[in-house]
């Protein structure tokens, strides 16, 4: 009670149970925060396990290289003192260490996996290591190993083989990431690959260029529709809205399938053009399995994502502004360009960034209608995961793509706010 009296003397208010009101309010607030967090916690844990950890795993794989030091532990240590820039082969101790490591690896059958790992960097390593794993067990311990290895395959006497092993001997490597931007590790540091082997930068640029083209076309087609939706009375605009939302809700594969049917050389559009007489039967247009196919199909697929943000901005522009501009003497074009268009720019920005972000990560549609000239970086990622099995490079390419997308989202978030995304 004395405490309470003292508090009262200092002029603070007390709650019913005698504690200062400030304290009990703070306690209530803490309980409230805790309750909110408890409600969120299960989902947060779920997303972390089912989604964030996979993404982290992928980022980790783009630099991970443990297979080399794990399979050749002694060789890696012995190679530490060797000067890769010089012309001399590593000495006998390194060959002896390689022999010991290979004997162990061949028993565990891990040398073939190491071979395929190093083969990504220097083709020929796979067969070299497979043969060495078989041969190491039969080697004579009394003679120098160096000669025996070079005897087995002269590539062991090639300094490039040793440079590759030395460059990739760390548990972590920037090699995959360098590969993803058409560079390679050399003893003199990272360098551009020879011009004939550069593919990824071009593929990234093509992905960007095609996405920009698609964004431009969606804007060109979407702007009039959004404008029409905004100026028509609600009853009519709701009907037109259904025409926009139906494609939005239709399965992506259905829409891709229909473009495949429409654009084929024996398809509906070519048949129609031949029937009208615009083109002859022999010169049917090639509109599929190239960049044109990708652009047409993806413009159609992404068009609703342009129209919806544009419409939500245009709806808020009061029509009286246009009337005011006209009554002040502006003609239709000036009134639109100087008064209406500037107010619709936030919608243009939001729609354009959204379409662009969605477009650069697309996989299915380019895969099905893009042929070889209309594919994106994502198709290359899928190729490395399921066909070439170079997971590190796939992860590195995906990391690059993720960085681009997150940077764009940051811009989008500043412009529109991610929580302000409206659905339907």
């Amino acid at each position: 009670m004395t405490q309470a009296t003292a508090d009262q003397a200092r002029g603070s208010v007390l709650a019913a149970d005698g504690t200062p009101l400030k304290v009990s309010l703070r306690r209530a607030l803490r309980a409230q925060k805790l309750r909110a967090l408890m409600l969120i916690a299960p989902l947060l844990a779920f997303i972390v396990i089912a989604f964030l950890m996979p993404i982290a795993d992928m980022l980790f794989r783009s630099v991970e290289n443990q297979i080399v030091p794990d399979t050749l532990p002694k060789t890696v240590v012995a190679l530490e003192d060797w000067d890769a820039k010089g012309d001399a082969l590593p000495g006998e101790p390194v060959f002896a260490a390689l022999h010991d490591d290979l004997v162990v690896a061949a028993e565990a059958k891990t040398h073939t996996r190491l071979g395929s790992r190093l083969n990504y960097e220097d083709s020929g390593m796979s067969s070299l290591l497979r043969a060495a794993g078989r041969g190491a067990g039969r080697m004579n311990a009394d003679e120098p190993y160096e000669a025996q290895f070079i005897d087995m395959d002269k590539d062991w006497g090639d300094i490039e083989t040793w440079r590759t092993i030395k460059l990739y001997s760390g548990a972590y490597t920037d090699g995959y990431l360098l590969n993803a931007i058409d560079m390679q590790k050399t003893v003199d540091g990272p360098e551009l690959k020879p011009a004939s082997q550069r593919i990824y930068v071009m593929l990234f640029l093509r992905t960007m260029l095609l996405s920009l083209t698609i964004t431009f076309f969606t804007l060109l087609l979407g702007y009039p529709i959004a404008y029409l939706l905004a100026i028509l009375p609600l009853r009519t605009s709701n009907l037109i809205m259904i025409l926009v939302l139906l494609p939005f809700w239709t399965s992506l594969l259905v829409r891709t399938a229909s473009w495949k049917v429409l654009l084929q050389q024996q398809g509906v559009i070519n048949d129609l053009l031949v029937w009208i007489g615009l083109i002859s039967d022999a010169n049917r247009l090639v509109m599929i399995n190239n960049a044109t196919g990708t652009i047409i199909a993806m413009t159609h697929i992404l068009l609703p994502f342009m129209i919806l943000p544009l419409y939500s901005v245009m709806k808020t522009i009061p029509p009286s502004y246009l009337r005011a501009a006209k009554s002040l003497g502006a003609n239709d074009w000036t009134a639109f360009w100087r008064v209406y268009f500037p107010q619709s720019v936030p919608g243009v920005g939001a729609g354009a960034i959204l379409v662009f972000i969605l477009s650069i990560g697309y996989y299915i549609t380019p895969e099905l209608v893009g042929g070889t000239s209309g594919i994106f970086i994502s198709n290359r990622i899928a190729y490395h995961i399921s066909i070439s099995l170079n997971w590190g490079l796939a992860a590195a390419l995906a990391t690059m793509l993720l960085i681009v997308v997150l940077a764009l989202y940051w811009v989008y978030d500043r412009m529109v706010g991610i929580d302000n995304v409206k659905l339907g």
């Binding site: 409230q32 909110a36 967090l37 409600l39 969120i40 299960p42 989902l43 947060l44 779920f46 997303i47 089912a50 989604f51 964030l52 950890m53 996979p54 993404i55 982290a56 795993d57 992928m58 979407g222 009039p224 529709i225 029409l228 100026i231 028509l232 009375p233 259904i242 025409l243 139906l246 494609p247 239709t250 594969l253 259905v254 829409r255 399938a257 229909s258 049917v261 429409l262 509906v268 048949d271 159609h300 609703p304 029509p319 246009l322 239709d332 972000i357 990560g361 697309y362 996989y363 299915i364 994502s378 990622i381 899928a382 399921s386 995906a398 997308v405 991610i418 929580d419 409206k422 659905l423």
Partner: protein
């Protein structure tokens, strides 16, 4: 511009109709690819274009044989079974966890609200191919790759942002004094949630569920990597069909999927109207 005034000049008249013509053309571009599939799916031949007899409306040129193939072919039936066993479970998981979290997020004082929201929305932001790659790597480490539950978890994660967005949007219009009133009358938090809050936010929850369902039902990139042949879904089967040899059965499946999306769209539209009416936003 909404209506042409009687004093409009020739140029204005021309533009007025020209603009409408452009809009009709764009709307035609939007809807035509979807509509054209429907009659083609009834083609009696194995062609992907209209035959002369179809254009002459000869009844013999039309048949249901592609639909028969869909309902009798074991590949397609297996795919259909997988789709209807994966999507509802993924939806249930996404809706249960998502609604709970959305209620938590809409409390007045949530620490790190921005960061939590960013994490929960992230599956929608990251391109599917990247999610698919990461899930493939990580799920194979923990033995979920190629299993039913692996696909369900992946699809639930992809559907959650939609549930969060729609439910938090409905909760913005929710009057919190109703919760206090219920508590005042002696209802516990659980009873308050189910008797007072849930019925009012139900339209948002259902539309979130529809989004989550369609996300899983239409999803193909992630299931291609995370699933194995035993989890082959309808979109996966379509993807294979389109990539390898395109069989007319795909057109029949596409028509069925279009019918499903029309139903979903109608339900969503009705829900939107009901929710607006509940919140007193529109008189209709």
């Amino acid at each position: 511009m909404a209506a042409l005034p009687p004093y409009a000049s020739t140029g204005q008249r021309l533009w007025y109709w020209g603009f409408r013509a452009i809009c009709v053309a764009v709307l035609f571009f939007l809807i035509m690819p979807i509509l054209v599939i429907i009659p083609l799916s009834f083609n009696a031949e194995n062609f992907f274009t209209f035959t002369k007899r179809m254009l002459a409306l000869n009844p013999e040129a039309y048949s249901l044989k592609h639909y028969q193939d869909f309902f009798s072919n074991p590949d397609w039936q297996q795919a259909l079974r997988n789709s209807v066993t994966i999507a509802p479970v993924a939806t249930l998981l996404a809706v249960a966890l998502g609604t709970l979290a959305a209620v938590g997020l809409s409390q007045p004082h949530v620490p790190f609200r921005g960061a939590i929201m960013a994490i929960l929305i992230s599956p929608m932001i990251v391109p599917l191919i990247i999610s698919a790659a990461g899930m493939y790597f990580f799920y194979s480490r923990i033995g979920l790759q190629g299993t039913y539950w692996g696909v369900v978890l992946a699809h639930a994660a992809l559907g959650i942002p939609f549930v969060i967005i729609t439910v938090t949007a409905t909760l913005v219009g929710f009057d919190r004094s109703l919760v206090r009133a219920a508590a005042n009358m002696g209802a516990g938090p659980v009873r308050t949630f189910f008797k007072v809050q849930m019925p009012l936010i139900l339209p948002g929850v259902i539309s979130g569920a529809l989004f989550a369902f369609i996300t899983s039902f239409d999803e193909v990139v992630v299931v291609l990597f995370v699933g194995s042949a035993a989890q082959k879904t309808l979109p996966w089967q379509m993807f294979i069909g389109l990539r390898e040899q395109i069989s007319p059965t795909i057109l029949a499946v596409a028509t069925i999927l279009i019918a499903i999306s029309v139903v979903l769209l109608t339900v969503l539209e009705l829900l939107r109207r009901r929710s607006e009416k509940l919140r007193g936003m529109s008189p209709g």
